[in-house]
Symmetry: C2
Subunit: 205 residues, 2 copies
DNA sequence: TGTACATCAGTGAACGCGCGTTCACTGATGTAC
DNA sequence: TGTACATCAGTGAACGCGCGTTCACTGATGTAC
């Protein structure tokens, strides 16, 4: 953040970062353009040099989130290679790790109410993120005999839903947060049982 | 709704219903006390005869949601008796059915940002709803050999998370809504694979 | 049955507030000569 | 290296709006006699 007197230096990103911090602290409804501007040390009007308006700012925050999200999962996937099983499990764990590490992004992406189809750019990067998970599922599905193999899209949807449900219900003071189990453990054991159901893990523990 | 001229008759419930309709239509942020009053044909100030304020209205909507939620699942559970497996699967299906049939309640409960611990009353009814699912899980867990039986709380948390994730991601125009699969089918197949992983369903399909 | 009265649900006007957004402007910055 | 100038990022004042909330009030309702 090279602050060069009158001009800010990198206000655009500073505004996004401020928005993310606000969303993380006060929830998706707590974010306001004015407050984000204030946090960045700037007048609300200055925001309009860089964004079309309030929603455009959130959308950009979400977009950056999807980029990091895809990168995180891709990286985990690569790290688990060449074992399809290890790659898949690492990808699942990366989902929760992302939600933990980037709560502002996560909320902007999934809880702010902005549509993923708002811009073509946002839709593309969101689709790419989904493809990473689906590719991991597809590769793993090869190990299942074709006649009892579910479509990879179904497979990955299950894992995505389970991961998302764990995040929403058992992190950040959600309804199930009084549970004595760590979200990480819940997700790992849940995926374990699921993969056993697919015959990808031995039945005996 | 017996409208007796000047006095409304049952304004309290009319306000809750209006709030639910608004939440369903415009999302959790779209709800305003003033608009709910207007929908009920009444001045905003009239709301304060029945509720402490805006948040109190949403909390009451959520509370009623938890009551219906618990009833719906309890009813499905009872209908599946005496088979533990049938009762459990019916309870899982009831979760999604509730979200479909009462989207306003569902959003008020899980997406409005009001804490379940806001009042003792709300916390109690939310806990009761969770207990219904947990009881179904507990009973079903009896069929698993003790040494490979997961704690029922973990078991039910998995199902809850999977159900919630499916609702959030694959209904109501969410990120995964362009998926060609019905949420009902996704949830059913997911639970099926999961139960197979626990040895509660035969491995061959 | 008719009248006087207490109750209290809803009115209507007003409030302060913070929001997103606009506009003419200003002055720091980087460039051309 | 020094000066004149064009650019354009950010200012500051202002706007209209709808929000949640308050208050003194009013008049429909149900009850007591």
């Amino acid at each position: 953040m090279l602050k060069r007197g009158y001009h800010h230096g990198n206000l655009r990103q500073a505004l996004i970062d401020a928005a993310l911090a606000l969303i993380e602290t006060k929830g998706p409804a707590g974010f306001t353009l004015s407050e984000a501007a204030k946090q960045a040390g700037v007048t609300p009007a200055a925001v309009y040099r860089h964004f079309a308006g309030r929603d455009d700012l959130i959308a950009e925050a979400a977009r950056q989130g999807y980029v990091i999200f895809a990168e995180t999962m891709q990286c985990a996937y690569d790290g688990g290679q060449p074992s399809a099983l290890a790659a898949f499990e690492a990808t699942g764990r990366a989902y929760l790790a992302f939600a933990r590490k980037h709560p502002g992004h996560y909320i902007a992406m999934f809880e702010s109410g902005i549509s993923v189809n708002r811009t073509a750019d946002l839709a593309a990067v969101a689709l790419h993120a989904r493809d990473v998970l689906e590719k991991a599922a597809q590769e793993l599905a090869q190990l299942i005999p074709p006649e009892k193999r579910p479509p990879p899209a179904v497979f990955s949807a299950h894992i995505w839903a389970l991961s998302h449900g764990v995040v929403e219900l058992f992190t950040r003071g959600a309804p199930g947060a009084q549970s004595p189990y760590l979200p990480e453990d819940l997700l790992e054991s849940g995926i374990g049982i699921y993969l056993r159901g697919l015959g990808l893990l031995p039945a005996d523990d």
